[in-house]
């Protein structure tokens, strides 16, 4: 029992800090305390997660599956601990960047930090789930806090629109997810993912309900990552929400939904020689592959036409959901490693780009047009250089981590005989160069506008530094991350 509690430490600590942060929010008027408290909380969570990461895996083997407090519903160690660290880190970066931005644009800081902490706890629960119910609870904790974060500027009509749109469509998509989980339970007789896998391999499942359930889960999760037919909410929501919050939503939120994708589809698409199952597996994989291809092409083509940088990044985030889905479609360990690597790189570059936007944004979403970036390199050389790094990494130019993420994903697709998907991915990647490089052209080769932009960094310097350092380190030494990730699956 003792060793189980040690493995549960990250979940226990984040829950403790979430609850105390809410109580402090109510009791204390001064928000500097909840700011410091949430930062301490996330650092403690990173510490405990690193501890569970380095406990020898022998202990995990000896952990008997019977008589656990968590009844085998929670997954310990491995990729779960890794993503605890990633999500807590993303939350930390967001909180550090938010303080100056929210204070300037909105002046009220009420429950902002607690909301970020709650979101992180939901994401961590998704990573730890070994049971479809825990997965569902994690997704809902995350999504509901996102609905509130999207409408955080409650005096701005755009923010309210974003929140309402996200809430209505999100709860509708959740219905699909729950119905899919119910049908999967009906088809295989269990909610425990390992038992589902063993029942599938043994052939003890209802064919039609299995296909229906997997399809509905696919729809629900595709909505959460904003993949092709279910992506329409993404641009409006990401544009209307507070900039730092939409950076957090579109990066860490997407990564968390991709973990849910890996966890579910790794277990319901096992590699076995059962002829019925193989046919189903190929069908589902092909559907995901087509979704991935459409998502990439549509996201990138629509992003070409945007003149607002925030909206452009929203469409590019749709395209990146497509790249990440390649790893799910290929359904092998290279693919999952690729998703893991690319999630980390994507969080760093997308969150970084949104933080740069939040630094120059003034008066509710002005200064975000493409023409506002003209000549930024002359007025703010450091900011322009940072933005250029994030754009190059998003486009997948070699010295940065985005390149290796795409590389692993494309290799996994080739290994799984999806050569056509790789070709589509490369083509859409080339299309995306146009608008990413377009921003760099504006910043470096255009004359600055008459009134120079102000830049107000505050504590945002720290997350920007972390993002650039991470992108360069993982870009130059990708094996640091890839070798760790390789042992998870």
């Amino acid at each position: 029992m003792g060793i189980e509690l040690q493995y549960l430490l990250p979940i226990i600590t984040i829950s403790f800090f979430v609850v105390t942060a809410i109580v402090f929010d109510a009791l204390l008027q001064n928000k500097i305390f909840s700011f410091v408290w949430s930062i301490i909380g996330l650092i403690v969570v990173i510490g405990t997660a690193s501890y569970t990461f380095v406990i020898p895996s022998l202990e995990l083997m000896n952990l008997s599956k019977e008589g656990l407090i968590t009844k085998n519903m929670v997954f310990f160690g491995g990729y779960a601990s890794f993503f605890d660290i990633v999500f807590a880190g993303a939350g930390l970066m967001t909180i550090l960047a938010s303080r100056v931005y929210i204070k300037r644009e909105y002046k009220e800081l009420n429950e902002y930090y607690s909301l970020i902490l709650i979101t992180v706890s939901g994401m961590m629960l998704i990573g730890h789930s070994n049971n479809l119910l825990i997965l569902f609870i994690g997704i809902e904790i995350m999504s509901i806090s996102f609905y509130v974060l999207a409408g955080y500027f409650r005096n701005s009509i755009k923010s309210i629109e974003a929140s309402l749109k996200y809430f209505l469509l999100g709860s509708f998509a959740t219905g699909f997810l729950v119905y899919g989980i119910a049908l999967l339970y009906g088809a295989t007789g269990s909610l425990d993912l390992n038992i589902i896998t063993s029942n599938l391999i043994a052939g003890k499942f209802n064919h039609i309900y299995f296909l229906l359930g997997s399809g509905l889960i696919l729809i629900g999760l595709s909505f959460k990552v904003a993949a092709f037919p279910f992506h329409q909410w993404a641009p409006d929501v990401y544009q209307g929400s507070p900039t730092v919050a939409s950076g957090f939503m579109s990066s860490a939120g997407k990564a968390a939904a991709m973990i849910a994708f890996i966890i579910v589809f790794k277990h319901i698409l096992p590699a076995v020689n059962n002829p019925v199952l193989i046919k189903d597996t190929h069908l589902i994989q092909n559907i995901i592959a087509v979704l991935a291809a459409c998502t990439m092409l549509l996201g990138n083509f629509t992003a070409l036409a945007q003149t607002n940088v925030k909206r452009m990044l929203a469409y590019s985030s749709v395209a990146h959901a497509g790249y990440l889905l390649i790893g799910i479609a290929s359904n092998n360990s290279t693919g999952w490693t690729g998703v893991l690597f690319y999630s980390v790189a994507y969080i760093l570059m997308q969150l970084g780009a949104f933080i740069v936007l939040s630094v120059i944004e003034r008066n509710e979403q002005s200064n975000l047009e493409l023409s506002d970036f003209a000549g930024l390199s002359r007025s703010h050389p450091i900011l322009a250089a940072l933005m250029a790094v994030f754009m190059l990494s998003l486009a997948g130019i070699p010295p940065f981590a985005g390149f290796f993420g795409k590389y692993y994903l494309f290799v996994s697709a080739v290994k799984a005989d999806y050569v056509w998907l790789t070709i589509v991915a490369v083509i859409s990647s080339i299309i995306s160069m146009y608008y990413y490089i377009g921003i760099i052209l504006q910043m470096y080769f255009k004359d600055p506008r008459s009134v120079a932009l102000e830049a107000d960094y505050g504590l945002a310097r720290i997350p920007l530094f972390i993002a650039v350092a991470g992108l360069v380190i993982f870009g130059v030494f990708p094996s640091l991350l890839a070798d760790v990730a390789y042992y998870f699956f």
């Binding site: 609850v19 105390t20 809410i22 109580v23 929010d25 109510a26 009791l27 209802n206």
Partner: protein
């Protein structure tokens, strides 16, 4: 496998059938004596004085939502109290955790003034 569901289909068909038949039978066979009292919205209640499609204070929603939370709490606590001895220390710790979480939410609600009417 599908045969198991046939009773369910029967129940649905008969349920709908009986409800529809009774409704229309009372419409056809029943006496129709209309009085002024019968035509009001609430025959034995207050007479409505305004349209119902009106905006009212968000506080009503808050109170309704908080009522739901504490109502659900009771639903969890009854079975726990009945099975207290069998559930043992695990059940006790779990319920204490649940109450502490609920209490922190309650403190938040009180301090934010959600229950203050003015």
């Amino acid at each position: 496998m599908t045969l198991e569901y046939i009773p369910l289909v029967f129940m649905l068909v008969f349920g709908f059938g009986i409800a529809t038949v009774f409704m229309y039978l009372s419409e056809i066979l029943g006496a129709k004596r209309s009085t002024k009292e019968k035509n009001t919205t609430y025959e034995s209640g207050m007479t409505p004085f305004k349209t119902a499609r009106d905006r009212f204070s968000v506080k009503f929603y808050l109170v309704a939502m908080l009522f739901l939370v504490f109502d659900i709490e009771i639903v969890f606590m009854y079975p726990w109290a009945v099975q207290f001895k069998q559930l043992g220390s695990t059940g006790f710790i779990a319920m204490m955790l649940f109450i502490v979480l609920l209490l922190s939410g309650y403190i938040y609600v009180i301090k934010k003034g959600a229950l203050k009417w003015d």
